[in-house]
C-alpha cells in the first residue's frame, strides 16, 4: 500500500516537473501548428479588406501540385541525403582526431567550433566571396591549382549545376562543429577500461573502433543523425541571403518557399499549407531515421 501511494506521489511530482516543458511545447509548437493548419484551410491574405473565407483543402492541393514547391521538397531531400552522411562522417573524423590529450587541444577544438557561433550573415558574406565567379574567385582558383589549370571556372551560386552543391559545402563547413562537439563528448564518455580490455585481447585500432568506439557512440550517433536531418530540412538562411532560391529554383527549399509566400507575396494561407506539409514530412523522415537507427542495434 505504502509503495503504491509513494508511486502516485512520484507520478504527481513527475507530472508537476514536466508541466513547464509541456506548457512550452503546447504554447510554442502545438498551438502554432494547429493555427497554421487552420489558416491553411482559408484564403487569408495579409492586409486584404476582403472577408477571409473557408476554402477547404484547396491550398494543400495547390501547394502539392505547385512545381516550384515540389522542386523545393526535392532540393531539401537531395540536400539532406548529401549533407547528413557527409557532415556526420566528417564530424566523427574530426572528433576522433581531436580526442587525445595533446597540448593546446582546447584551442584546436575551439577553432573547429568557431563557424557554429559565427552569425550566418558573416558566413554568407565570406562564402559569397569564396564562390566568386571567374578564375580569381578563391574556390575556382583553388580547383585550378589542384587540377593544374584543368578547371574551367564556374559561377557557383548562379549555375544550376553547382548552386545546391555550393550550399551543401558551406552548410557542412558551418555546421560540422556542433556535431563534432557532441560526438567528442560521446567519445569521452566511453569507459577507458573497454579500450584497455580490447588492447589486452589483442584488438588493432580498426577493430577497436568497430567493436568499442562505434557501439559506445551508438546513442550519440542516433541523436546526431536525427538533429542533422532536421537541421538539413530547415535550410533557409543560406538560401535567403545568397541565392533567393535561384537559379531556376535550383536552391529553393520548402521553408524558403513558405516565407516567400506568406511574407513576400502576402499569401498567408498558401504559406501555412507549405509549413504544414513540411512539418509532416520532417516528422515522417525523423521517425524513419530513428527506426533505422534502432533496427541496427
Amino acid at each position: 500500500m505504502t509503495g503504491n501511494s509513494a508511486e502516485t506521489a512520484e507520478t504527481r511530482a513527475g507530472l508537476l516537473m514536466a508541466a513547464p516543458a509541456v506548457a512550452g511545447l503546447l504554447a510554442f509548437v502545438l498551438v502554432p501548428f494547429g493555427l497554421a493548419f487552420g489558416l491553411a484551410l482559408t484564403d487569408l491574405r495579409l492586409g486584404s479588406p476582403l472577408p477571409t473565407r473557408f476554402v477547404g483543402v484547396d491550398p494543400f492541393v495547390r501547394v502539392l501540385t505547385d512545381p516550384v514547391f515540389l522542386r523545393a521538397l526535392l532540393n531539401n531531400a537531395v540536400f539532406a541525403a548529401v549533407v547528413v552522411p557527409v557532415q556526420t562522417g566528417l564530424a566523427l573524423l574530426v572528433a576522433l582526431a581531436l580526442d587525445r590529450p595533446l597540448y593546446a587541444m582546447p584551442v584546436l577544438r575551439t577553432l573547429f567550433f568557431l563557424p557554429v557561433v559565427l552569425p550566418f550573415v558573416v558566413v554568407a558574406v565570406v562564402w559569397e566571396l569564396i564562390f566568386a565567379p571567374g578564375p580569381a574567385g578563391p574556390a575556382n582558383a583553388l580547383l585550378g591549382l589542384v587540377t593544374l589549370g584543368g578547371w574551367a571556372p564556374v559561377d557557383w551560386l548562379h549555375d544550376t549545376r553547382y548552386a545546391l552543391g555550393a550550399m551543401a559545402v558551406l552548410s557542412v563547413w558551418q555546421g560540422v562543429g556542433l556535431q563534432m562537439v557532441i560526438l567528442l563528448a560521446g567519445l569521452q564518455a566511453i569507459p577507458r577500461t573497454l579500450y584497455e580490455a580490447a588492447r589486452i585481447d589483442g584488438a588493432g585500432p580498426f577493430s577497436t573502433f568497430l567493436h568499442v568506439t562505434l557501439p559506445g557512440l551508438r546513442n550519440v550517433l542516433v541523436f546526431v543523425v536525427t538533429v542533422t536531418t532536421i537541421l538539413a530540412f530547415r535550410l533557409f538562411d543560406q538560401v535567403r541571403i545568397l541565392t533567393q532560391g535561384g537559379p531556376e529554383d535550383a536552391t529553393t527549399t520548402a521553408l524558403y518557399e513558405a516565407v516567400a509566400a506568406a511574407f513576400d507575396r502576402q499569401q498567408v494561407a498558401v504559406g501555412s499549407a507549405m509549413t504544414v506539409v513540411w512539418f509532416v514530412l520532417v516528422l515522417a523522415v525523423t521517425a524513419v531515421v530513428r527506426r533505422m537507427a534502432r533496427g541496427r542495434a
Binding site: D43, G47, H158, Q244, V259
Partner: protein, 454 residues
C-alpha cells in the same frame, strides 16, 4: 525576418557616405535648425497653450542624415506655430512595413506615416489611408512634380485620389566614365531623346570590352538584392513596349511574356552571357575603375563624383524601341484613416513640402526634390545641376511601378524571373512562369476589387 527592401530602402542603403557636395549643403542648411533642435527635442517642452493638438508621426529610421533632417524639421515646425505639436516616432526600417501592418491590425496607427512607394496601393486598398486631395492646400499639391503625383495616386487613372506625397523621388540611369567612352569612340548621349538604342548600347559594350583587360565593362549592381531588380529593369520592359502587367486589366499574361518583353530581357541576358557584366561583389566595380558604365540610381552620385570628378557622365538608360524609360518612386507620406488629427498631419506635411524643407531633405539624402519649386533651386537637380537629367526624366520618361495591391506578388515574380534570366534560363519560359504567378495572385484576390470608396 526582414521584409525585402523596396526602392526607398535601396536608396537609403546605397547612398554614398561621402556625398561631399550634398553633405556640405545639408550642413549649411541644417546648422541654424540644429541650434534650435536641442530645446525643442526635449520632451519637457512646455505645453503650448490650451488649443495645442498632438500629431503623431512615424518615420522609418533611414540614413542618419535623413533622420537628422527630419528631427530638425519637427523641432522647427513645433517652434514656429502652437496649434499642433508633432511627436515623432522612429521605427527601424528592417521591420517597418511589418510593424505598420501589425499596428493597423491593433488599430494603433499614427496620424501621419511614411511608406515605401510601391506599397502605397496595397495600404490604400486595405483602407488604411485617407486621400490628401481635401487635406493639402491646392498650391502645395500643384507644386508636386508629376512623378510624385503619379506614385501617390490610387487607383490609377481618372477617379484616382492622391493618397501619398513624397518630399523626394529617385533617379535611375547610367553613370559613365567619359574618358573611357571617348577612348572607345562611343557617342555620349546626355538627353533622354538621344539615348543609345539597344544595338548602339551593345556596340558600345563591345567597343569598351575590346579595350578592357577582363572584358567586363558594365555594372548592373547584381550585388543588390530584392526590389532593386524590379526598380531598375522593369523600365526596360516599358521601353520595349511591354510592361510588368497590363495596367488596365491587371493581367500579366500577354504583357510580361509578350514578344517585346522577351526581346528586352533577352538583351539583358546577352550582356551577361557575353561577359560584359561585372558581378560587383565588392560594390566597387565603378569606383575601382573596373567598369566604364554603372546602371544605378542617384544615390551613387556622390561616391562616383568623388572618384571621377568631371569625367563622370550621367546618361539615360538604353532605348529598347519606344524611347528610353527610367524608374521612379521612393518613400512618401500618407495620412491614416484612423488619424485623430488629420488636419494637423496635413499641416505638418504641407510644411515638409515647402521649398526650403524639401531642399533640406533632398540635400541631406541626395535625392531628386519632390516639388517643382525646390527642383528649380536644387544645386544637383536644377537647370544647371549635374543630375538635371534625372529631374527631367521624372514624370516625362519614368514609369511608376504598378499601383495595385497585387504589387508584392508582381515584384516577387519578376525578381525571380530576372534572377533566372540573368543566370541563363530560357527568357520566354521564365517570363511566362512569372506572368502565371501574377495572374493567379490576382485571381485569388478576385481581381483586387476596390472596396474603399475613393
Amino acid at each position: 525576418m526582414a521584409p525585402r527592401p523596396y526602392a526607398g530602402a535601396v536608396v537609403r542603403h546605397r547612398i554614398a557616405t561621402k556625398h561631399a557636395l550634398a553633405a556640405l549643403l545639408a550642413a549649411a542648411l541644417l546648422v541654424p535648425a540644429a541650434c534650435t533642435r536641442k530645446e525643442a527635442d526635449t520632451p519637457e517642452t512646455p505645453a503650448q497653450g490650451e488649443g495645442t493638438e498632438t500629431v503623431t508621426v512615424w518615420f522609418h529610421t533611414g540614413r542618419p542624415a535623413e533622420r537628422d533632417a527630419l528631427q530638425a524639421q519637427v523641432a522647427d515646425f513645433n517652434g514656429r506655430q502652437d496649434r499642433y505639436r508633432v511627436v515623432l516616432t522612429l521605427i527601424p526600417e528592417g521591420g517597418y512595413n511589418a510593424q505598420v501592418r501589425a499596428a493597423a491590425l491593433a488599430r494603433d496607427l499614427p496620424d501621419l506615416l511614411d511608406l515605401d512607394g510601391p506599397l502605397l496601393a496595397s495600404y490604400a486598398w486595405s483602407g488604411l489611408l485617407v486621400p490628401l486631395d481635401d487635406l493639402l492646400p491646392e498650391a502645395t499639391r500643384a507644386d508636386l512634380i508629376p512623378s510624385i503625383v503619379a506614385q501617390g495616386t490610387w487607383p490609377p487613372g481618372p477617379g484616382g485620389r492622391l493618397y501619398g506625397a513624397g518630399t523626394f523621388d529617385s533617379g535611375l540611369g547610367l553613370f559613365a566614365d567619359r574618358a573611357a567612352l571617348a577612348a572607345a569612340e562611343v557617342r555620349v548621349p546626355d538627353a533622354t531623346a538621344t539615348a543609345w538604342t539597344a544595338e548602339e548600347f551593345r556596340a558600345a559594350l563591345a567597343a569598351l570590352a575590346a579595350r578592357d583587360p577582363d572584358g567586363q565593362v558594365l555594372d548592373l549592381k547584381r550585388n543588390y538584392k530584392g526590389e532593386w531588380f524590379t526598380y531598375a529593369f522593369s523600365p526596360l520592359l516599358a521601353s520595349a513596349g511591354a510592361d510588368l502587367i497590363d495596367r488596365k486589366t491587371l493581367t500579366a499574361h500577354g504583357t510580361l511574356d509578350s514578344a517585346a518583353a522577351v526581346g528586352a530581357m533577352t538583351q539583358v541576358q546577352s550582356w551577361i552571357r557575353s561577359g560584359y557584366v561585372d558581378p560587383n561583389l565588392d560594390d566597387a566595380a565603378f569606383v575601382r575603375g573596373r567598369v566604364a558604365l554603372s546602371w544605378v540610381g542617384h544615390w551613387e552620385y556622390g561616391r562616383y563624383h568623388d572618384t571621377l570628378g568631371d569625367r563622370l557622365a550621367v546618361l539615360p538608360l538604353p532605348d529598347m524601341g519606344t524611347g528610353s524609360r527610367t524608374g521612379q518612386g521612393s518613400w512618401q507620406w500618407a495620412v491614416t484613416a484612423k488619424a485623430k488629427s488629420p488636419e494637423g498631419a496635413a499641416a505638418f506635411l504641407a510644411y515638409l513640402l515647402e521649398p526650403e524643407q524639401v531642399l533640406a531633405m533632398a540635400n541631406a539624402n541626395g535625392a531628386p526634390p519632390g516639388t517643382r519649386a525646390a527642383t528649380a533651386r536644387s544645386p544637383l537637380y536644377g537647370p544647371a545641376g549635374p543630375l538635371r537629367l534625372f529631374a527631367e526624366q521624372l514624370g516625362a520618361a519614368s514609369v511608376p511601378r504598378p499601383r495595385t495591391a497585387a504589387y508584392p506578388a508582381i515584384t516577387d515574380a519578376f525578381q525571380r524571373a530576372f534572377a533566372d534570366i540573368a543566370s541563363g534560363a530560357d527568357v520566354k519560359e521564365a517570363l511566362t512562369r512569372a506572368a502565371a504567378a501574377i495572374d493567379r495572385d490576382v485571381a485569388d484576390n478576385h481581381g483586387y476589387p476596390v472596396t474603399v470608396a475613393p
